[in-house]
Amino acid sequence: MSKDLIEKKPLLQVIDLKQYFVLKKEAMFQTKQVVKAVDGINFDLYPGETLSIVGESGCGKSTTGRSILRLDEPTEGDVLFKGQSLPKMSKRELRNVRGNIQVIFQDPYASLNPRRTIRQMLDEAMAIQKVLPPNKREARMLELMQHVGLRPEYLERYPHEFSGGQRQRIGIARALAVNPEIIICDEAVSALDVSIRAQILNLLKKLQKEFDLTFLFISHDLSVVRHISDRVMVMYLGKVVEISDKSSLFDKPLHPYTKALLSAIPVTDQTKRGERIILKGDVPSPLSPPVGCRFHTRCPFATDLCRQKEPVLVELEKNHSVACHFAKELSS
């Protein structure tokens, strides 16, 4: 956490959040099957920071974002936005708060209304959240289009007339349109070429400086994560296994999973690549997570202790917490 963040009060607090999905039974006497997509996670989000979430596909990143906003109703736990509990709010109160917390969804195609032109979509978003009077909206729309590198005449087009990356940028423009305080960016730049991606990342950083915007940034692209984040949180099978200042995490990852993850980054310069740690063993399923440490089935250092007892998240170094029985031994 950068120095000045610690003194600030958190803008968003996620407290022991759980999100379980119960699956349809296939046979009458079968026991209930539960996907523990998010299984008791805690973190704070400070104003003006970028916290990234990384982790294996299916570990619960998108679900975390969705349950914060109650797009899926959380099973347990609390989420405080400026001290107010989102899960306890009425639908109406929640609608007001949603203007402050925007999401850029992972799947732009599924999240854009196919029957609305981009103009209608942006206009509607601004109208619902009452951010600008109608006569000022046109100028704002043109500005947004320019920000995300789309031509102004594209305002009259429908979502299916765009390429994947163009659609993703429409999602970004829509999120920015209502001047939110927090943006949850779920793989928000993954479909963009590196130049446009750079342009969007620069824009996000600039807006962050100007308006103290806060980002919860979900991404698989670790070079992007490294560039944009202040802090990084690593998830594994519904749990947080490591959370840290960016530099500390990239320079000195403590969890064996994080180490494997960082070693697998593809690089353009094939001579610069280090030893790749290939994880062996069974990839566990959230339908039946392993007992003890959830990573033990694939961890090269696992012992009996790991197979029996679940490690808790402890702050091993300043602002660097990890959930691994042997993190200390392994780091020295």
Partner: protein, 337 residues
């Protein structure tokens, strides 16, 4: 045997025609793909990569899309001239495609395992039971745990990366001769990505599958591809051996692209970008389509369209800088000033 040509695309053009005008989304694409080879395609968002691949499979919605010109030769036979019946047998069988946005091509209300099994029954004539077992096996292969259970789930119950892997499983199920993979690993973390790339390479070694790999991830290009085509505004602007392009990009657009990469090992306040925006596909300029944004552009660039020329033994580039006319144009500019 490995260097037999399996797919050849000649002067492919697909336009979108509406009351707003004609958008030249794919505007004269040429390439060859050999057996066992991977051709990477990179380029600016909206430059026509997905439309090129959809055109190859003749999956462009028409209208508004219109196939304007070109040939697509699969083992010498032109797909353009084939009947719909013949094409259906080829799609998903000899050529298959991993679509960029899984939700656009998965049926939202059918369990994912069922969708893979259906393709297997259709193309490989497997029985219901065999097809289901193979489908579960494919889901296991792409690294999704509890495949028997996952196979029975509907797309919305899966994570983004799982849906993408379902698409991959479906595309690989019938061991195609040509695989067109449109951003197949964008939703995958690096460890699973590495695993998926390995599966593709493995199939490639076994059956000599040719792969067209569309991606924004230049690291993946470096690891996966033999050749790279860089696209800009509906055309290929540079065609290279993958090993050469990073150290010595020729086209100014490629140079800009590589310059925009965030550096993994150093901190940068601001990332380098390519200033300006792509020209509208409804209204391309007369000269070089990159001229407006190009740091090197001169008179000739604005006046005349460059063609894709051979440069050295292994490179092709569409840029005046690498021609004799360039020197003349520079000389004229000097005279003027």
């Amino acid at each position: 045997m490995m260097n037999e040509i399996v797919l050849e695309v000649k002067n492919l053009k697909t336009h979108f025609i509406s009351n707003k005008g004609t958008a030249k989304a794919v505007d004269g694409i040429d390439f060859v793909l050999r057996k066992g080879e991977t051709l990477g395609i990179v380029g600016e968002s909206g430059c026509g990569k997905s439309m090129t691949s959809l055109s190859i499979l003749r999956l462009i919605p028409s209208p508004p899309g219109k196939f304007v010109d070109g040939e697509v030769l699969l083992n010498g036979k032109d797909l353009v001239k084939m009947s719909n019946e013949e094409l259906r047998k080829i799609r998903g069988n000899q050529i298959s495609m991993i679509f960029q946005e899984p939700m656009t091509s998965l049926n939202p209300v059918i369990p994912v395992g069922e969708q893979i099994a259906e393709a297997l029954r259709l193309h490989q004539g497997l029985s219901r039971k065999q097809a289901w077992d193979k489908s579960v096996e494919m889901i296991r292969l792409v690294g999704i745990p509890s495949p028997e259970k996952r196979a029975k789930q509907e797309p919305f119950q899966l994570s983004g990366g799982m849906r993408q892997r379902i698409m991959i499983a479906m595309a690989l199920a019938c061991t195609p001769e040509v695989l067109i993979a449109d951003e197949p690993t964008t939703a995958l973390d690096v460890t699973i990505q590495a695993q998926i790339l390995e599966i593709m390479k493995d199939l490639q070694r076994k059956i000599g599958m040719g792969i067209i790999f569309i991606t924004h991830d230049l690291g993946v290009v470096a690891e996966m591809c033999d050749q790279v085509g860089v696209m800009y505004a509906g055309q290929i602007v540079e065609h290279r051996d993958a090993k050469d392009i990073f150290n010595n990009p020729l086209h100014p657009y490629t140079q800009g692209l590589i310059g925009s990469l965030p550096k993994l090992y150093e901190d940068q306040e601001e990332l380098q970008i390519i200033e300006g925006t792509v020209p509208s596909p409804y209204d391309y300029p007369e000269g070089c389509r990159f001229a407006e944004r190009c740091p090197f552009s001169t008179d000739i660039c604005v006046q005349k369209e460059p063609s894709l020329i051979q440069y050295g033994d292994n490179a092709k580039v569409r840029c005046w800088k690498y021609t004799n006319e360039w020197q003349d144009s520079l000389a004229k500019e000097v005279l003027k000033s």
